[in-house]
């Protein structure tokens, strides 16, 4: 794991096509260090709302299993998400709730970095701290700093192309991705 390229899965918490967070997620591959290859996760859009009775009668839905397999096979995850009502979007939390019930639980020991973009001054930070709390419960290994919190998102992305234009944000993302690569290599299971 010291020199091979890392396979990192990027999960977006918003389902909206014009989402700033989806735009941020699309920016990442170009800003990642050479030692890291980023790929987008499938959407959790069609997950049913978690209900133990579904799990217990018909089992885990196929799309949940596919998502879980993608996470299991990745070396690490980056979750890029908006904040809804001072917390985690329900859809993203629902996806985590489904996976948390699986055997060979996919988040366990998985390095995870967080990013958020939001229209206001706090840039989704409250969502990030709730996500840290839930990811602690599923035994992920959470990356600390630097944090990527893109405030006043409407001013930082191009209105038409949704390209991230803000140099400070771009530099911070590069720093985070470089540090995350080192972090993943450090916390990965030793051979």
């Amino acid at each position: 794991m010291t020199d091979q390229q890392l396979d990192v899965l990027v999960i977006c918490g918003s389902l909206r096509k014009g989402s700033y967070n989806a735009a941020l997620a699309r920016t990442l591959p170009a800003l990642a260090p050479a030692g890291m290859k980023l790929r987008p996760a499938q959407s959790f859009e069609h997950f049913p709302i978690y209900n133990f009775d579904i799990q217990n009668s018909t089992g885990f839905p196929a799309e949940v299993n596919a998502w879980a397999d993608a996470i299991r096979s990745a070396d690490a995850l980056i979750i890029v998400s908006p904040e809804y009502n001072w917390s985690i979007p329900g859809g993203l939390k629902n996806a985590i709730d489904w996976l948390s019930r699986m055997k060979e639980q996919p988040f366990k020991d998985k390095p995870v970095a967080l990013q958020s973009a939001a229209g206001g001054i706090l840039g989704g930070s409250r969502m990030q701290y709730h996500l840290r709390q839930s990811l602690t419960s599923v035994d992920a290994i959470l990356f600390g700093r630097p944090e990527v919190i893109v405030t006043f998102a409407a001013q930082k992305f191009d209105e038409k192309t949704l390209e991230l234009k803000d140099k400070t944000a771009i530099d911070m993302i590069k720093l985070q991705l470089a540090a995350f690569e080192q972090f993943i290599r450090r916390v990965s299971a030793k051979e």
Partner: protein, 189 residues
């Protein structure tokens, strides 16, 4: 005190849910003059996506729940904790409702209850829920708090009967405090 109509929302969809047992008990523990009915379910809500809202509008079950909340004098959440936080399905319901005009939780009295098999009794879900409710301008009751820890030992899993007298007393106290709170925060006529 005038008759109060309160709706209860259960955060779990599971039929045998302990929180649904709590929810079903509430009418029998409520003080005189307060009626508590279950709110319409959020089981069929799609996952929130602004593109749905902008193309086909709010789904019918979202409007149904929102109308029930608007029409109620107060809302009681009975919810489990999932992964140290709010169940995604419940949060998704709140996210949908939060985008409506005449936002249903604004100035709405809210009380929180949680049951869980562990010792903490769902404290973390309640504190996350308090934050979301604060953002939505609800009036959330402070105390008494209801954390039903080790719930498997307190309920008869077959009949749903609450066997724990202390918990029963606490629920009665909270419902009574909630009735007073609703009267207090209601607009002055």
């Amino acid at each position: 005190m005038a008759n109060l109509n309160v709706v209860s929302i259960c955060g779990s969809l599971r039929k045998g849910s302990f929180n649904a047992m709590v929810q079903r008990l509430l009418p029998s523990l409520a003080p005189e003059g307060i009626s508590i009915k279950p709110a319409p379910s959020f089981a069929e809500f799609p996952l929130y996506n602004a593109d749905i809202q902008n193309s086909t509008g709010f789904p019918a079950p979202v409007n149904t729940l929102a109308d029930a909340i608007r029409a109620a004098d107060g809302v009681i959440f009975c919810t489990p904790e999932y992964n140290f936080g709010i169940p995604g399905g419940l949060k998704n319901a709140i996210d949908w409702v939060s985008r409506l005009q005449n936002q249903p939780f604004a100035s709405k009295p809210v009380a929180l209850q949680s049951a869980s098999p562990g010792p903490v009794g769902g404290a973390r879900v309640q504190y996350d829920l308090r934050k979301a409710m604060m953002f939505l301008d609800a009036f959330t009751l402070n105390k008494p708090e209801i954390f039903i820890g080790n719930c498997a030992s307190k309920f008869d899993e077959k009949t749903g009967e609450l066997k724990d007298e202390a918990t029963r007393g606490l629920l009665k106290q909270q419902l009574s405090a909630f009735a007073t709170f609703i009267a207090r925060v209601a607009p002055k006529s």
